[in-house]
Symmetry: C2
Subunit: 87 residues, 2 copies
């Protein structure tokens, strides 16, 4: 019996718009985040939020991550890690 579908955090809609419905983007310049390790996803979001990642692509992610609080970051990380596309 499949595990219950993970509930989609409200904040995930902006991530899904670039990273694709299963966290697997059409644009191959973007990373697959579906199925990625949750702890890494959370640390990457914190690095973007904290300005520790600079450069053109990073600016876009920094603007997305800036308003996120720690609980939302952890919820997003767990949600995307649960998407099987990287397993």
């Amino acid at each position: 019996q499949d595990p219950p579908a993970p509930s989609v955090p409200e904040a995930a809609s902006v991530c899904l718009s670039c990273h694709g419905p299963f966290g697997r983007p059409d644009n191959l310049d973007y990373p697959i985040i579906g199925g990625q390790n949750a702890a890494y996803l959370a640390s990457a979001l914190r690095a973007y939020r904290g300005g520790q990642r600079t450069g053109e692509a990073a600016e876009m992610m920094a603007s997305v991550a800036r308003p996120l609080d720690d609980r939302t970051i952890d919820e997003l990380a767990v949600f995307f890690a649960s998407l099987r596309s990287l397993r």
Copy 2:
């Protein structure tokens, strides 16, 4: 018939030591890189090499990426993208 096993770039050994034999690390703080999008992997390595990613975890990756030339970065990106673990 499975595709031929990808030849392992010499420079990959240092990556494999942290990211695991199939680019799937035991340490969940590290990202799965096996099967990740090659273009993203190359841009991330260039960001580490160029000092565009700072912070504790990034320092380790910057030291690894610093000596890599563009051709080696592209070889590593294609190699790790070819590992199915993220597909």
